[in-house]
Amino acid sequence: MVPYLFLGFAGLLIATALMVVLHKNPVTSALFLVLSFTSLAGIYLLLQAEFIGMVQIIVYAGAIMVLFLFVIMYLNLQHDVEKGAQIAVRRGIGWMVGALMLLFAGLIVRNGGFSPGPVQAVPPSLEGGNAQAIGRVLYSRFLFPFEITSILLLVAMVGAIVMIKGRPAADGAEGEKE
């Protein structure tokens, strides 16, 4: 049953991801992105990464995409107008690069051209669940990166607030100069 579920989620994921790129309305794009993140969370569950799956929904769907929606609504964006020769050229190049990349990546995967490293003989202890196992590793071997991450978040938060608050007068002056 698991492989079928995987295929189902994969199909949903690809379809929604394509819609993100193709749909002209940013709000719809964002909603499809939510859907694709959710199906990715499903795939994580199938890969026995329950904790990551849930965090995927909480962080991506619950926080990041809400932020995106807020910004889109705040900027009051409507359908994107995408016409003209320049955009057609760009679209052509983009799809070509994409096709090449997919081809190469497919070849690499098919040839086994990746070296995944040594496989550990003993699977990680799942006693107490995936979350506990991750916690054990996170708070021992990866404690320092974990703490650094908190500083990163703090900096990002301060940066975002400072940028959004801004100085209206200075902004206006700069805008007129150009």
Partner: protein, 100 residues
């Protein structure tokens, strides 16, 4: 158990869609969303390898990538809002302040 190649292929497709999105679209917000897609493709590969190697390190990496993504989105969206306030547009082909 799902073969690791399946996940990798899916990851590759997802990544390519993200790349195409960045190259094709001109709305900064959609480009940003495409970048998130690429990050998620990388995450998927991490989780798949973690599963294959019986190791949790891959999942830890995903955890960190998510943190970075959250920070990136917060700052990136702030920049986009500021750019919009300045130039009244979110289309990246109308903004070239950094032209050399």
């Amino acid at each position: 158990m799902i073969p690791v190649e399946w996940s990798l292929a899916l990851s590759a497709v997802l990544f390519t869609i993200g790349v195409v999105g960045v190259l094709v679209r001109r709305n900064a917000l959609v480009i940003f969303m495409s970048i998130e897609l690429m990050l998620n493709a990388a995450n998927l590969a991490f989780v798949a390898f973690a599963r294959q190697q019986n190791s949790l390190d891959g999942q830890i990496f995903v955890f960190f990538v998510m943190t970075v993504a959250a920070a990136e989105v917060a700052v990136g969206l702030a920049i986009i809002v500021n750019v919009f306030r300045l130039r009244e547009t979110v289309f990246v082909d109308e903004i070239n302040l950094l032209k050399g």
